[in-house]
């Protein structure tokens, strides 16, 4: 069956169809300088919200055989500000505070007294490169229990000798592969890799693996999320 239409009727019909596409103009908001930043922030926030929903405490990061390891001298090191924060290893302690029962200064020996775990896991840098490293240390969850942390709090935050700072959601902090790491490749951490103590969180992106830890806090409120996050990176970036 075929219809016959007058030209102007056809023209108004096509115009109507064209006007139905006007909702597309809404995307133009991304081109408005004042709106662009808040829109992209909320888009990134939406991605983080989905990421939190996808996180499973019992999903383990893939572990690798020793022969798949990236050799230590081929393991790239990102420094962000200072190459050597000149940590005094002799007198180093980790200052623990916030929502914990036993706040105070913990020595490396206190931390090493907890069970040691070693794992070969992939380090994924936000830049796109990756390396498989061998990490050794104590479970962050064991340490949090030792200091009597309120694990119903939302975050842990760390500060570092090179003025770097980071935060972790509690669910990730309690993940069995999240380590307070003091060894790489079965040797004490080298200066480049964050001696004497760093985070190794294989379920998170590289910039969450803070080095040269000096303090750890358990908290419900984040004043600052992290060094890179506060400049625009994802707050949550889990893998």
């Amino acid at each position: 069956m075929s219809l016959q239409l007058e030209n102007h009727k056809f023209k108004s019909a096509t115009r109507r169809e064209l006007l139905k596409l006007t909702p597309l103009i809404a995307l133009g908001a991304f081109a408005v300088p004042k709106l662009q930043e808040p829109l992209l922030k909320s888009g990134l926030g939406f991605s983080d919200w989905i990421s939190k929903g996808l996180f499973r405490r019992h999903h383990m990061a893939t572990t690798f055989n020793d022969n798949q390891l990236t050799p230590l001298d081929k393991f790239y090191v990102n420094t962000y500000d200072v190459d050597d924060p000149e940590v005094d290893l002799e007198h180093w302690t980790l200052k623990v505070g916030g929502a914990v029962q036993r706040a105070g200064d913990y020595t490396l020996a206190n931390i090493q007294a907890l069970p040691k775990f070693r794992q070969n896991t992939r380090h994924v840098c936000v830049e796109g490169w990756d390396a498989i490293g061998r990490y050794g240390g104590t479970r962050l969850s064991d340490f949090l229990h030792m200091v009597g942390a309120d694990t119903s709090a939302r975050f842990i935050t760390v500060r570092c000798a090179d003025d770097y700072y980071e935060s972790l959601d509690m669910a990730t902090a309690l993940h069995p592969q999240s380590l307070l790491c003091y060894e790489m490749y079965d040797q004490p951490l080298t200066r480049e890799h964050g001696a004497p103590l760093r985070l190794s969180i294989p379920t998170k992106i590289g910039y969450k693996q803070a080095k040269y830890l000096t303090s750890l806090n358990v908290t419900n409120i984040l004043k600052h999320v992290g060094y890179w996050e506060d400049q625009g990176y994802s707050d949550y970036y889990s893998l």
Binding site: M1, F10, A13
Partner: protein
């Protein structure tokens, strides 16, 4: 629905050789001044047009921001020693720096995904996918079309809105679209979607597949744009209004 009041409605039975249901939907447009009549067919349903342009925008953003992300480590090898592939100028990339590009990428990926799901859902539930789905019976028609385009062979008789080569191109483009999402999720969440990353050989390789998928899509876009230019205004306008005036297949 057209307000047909004064308009004369006539029934014309158009001989339909095969599946050409579009021929049955043809409308004759009468220009009272000139007395000329032209035929038009409503080829592209609203959702298809909406998704086409949403996808045009989000694909542009995804590729632009993706190139900026790639600039942070333009290689698929080791970090040490790093051997960069050819990189592109910053002017072709979107986001200004890695963090900015990631904001664009992780925002528009939801628009890209949402558009894809809306499109696929619509095509499947409306049955409109038959317009473009490449099937076994289209295989034999591909070569004659290639010969026509590249070696100036005779133009094969076209039965529907899309010829076999077009169906192949659009079907491949949709598969590439799905792959871009799957490889993207493997790069974004190699642990939570470890099964996806595993199928692609792990995070390291998933990144390469994601990149290659982009080039596949760009190759489609290049061919698509050439065809748009070759086929003129009426064809181009139909992706806005849905209506195509005087399509070739009506006169055959």
């Amino acid at each position: 629905m057209w307000g047909i009041g004064k308009t004369k409605v006539i029934q014309i039975i158009i001989r339909c050789s095969c599946e050409g249901s579009l021929k049955e939907q043809a409308v004759l447009i009468e220009n009272r001044k000139t007395g000329k009549t032209t035929a038009a067919v409503y080829e592209h349903p609203y959702i298809v047009r909406l998704c086409h342009w949403l996808n045009t925008i989000s694909l542009f953003v995804m590729i632009g921001s993706g190139l900026q992300i790639f600039r942070a480590f333009p290689s698929f090898g080791a970090k040490i020693p790093e051997s960069d592939l050819i990189n592109w100028p910053k002017s072709l990339a979107l986001g200004g720096w890695l963090g900015g590009a990631l904001q664009w990428h992780l925002t528009f990926m939801w628009i890209y995904l949402g558009t894809g799901l809306l499109y696929l859902g619509y095509q499947i539930f409306s049955g409109n996918y038959r317009q473009i789905l490449f099937t076994w019976k289209d295989v034999s028609g591909v070569w004659p079309m290639v010969r026509h385009y590249f070696f100036f062979g005779p133009k094969p008789v076209q039965h529907g809105a899309y010829n076999p080569l077009q169906k192949q191109a659009y079907t491949v483009a949709i598969i590439l679209g799905v792959l871009s999402v799957l490889t993207g999720f493997a790069v974004w969440k190699p642990i939570q979607f470890s099964w996806l990353a595993w199928m692609m050989g792990g995070f390291h390789w998933a990144r390469l597949w994601h990149f290659l998928t982009m080039w596949g899509i760009l190759a489609f876009v290049a061919g698509h744009l050439i065809m748009v230019v070759l086929h003129g205004w009426q064809n181009f306008a139909s992706m806005f209004t849905g209506w195509k005036k005087d399509p070739d297949y009506l006169s055959e």
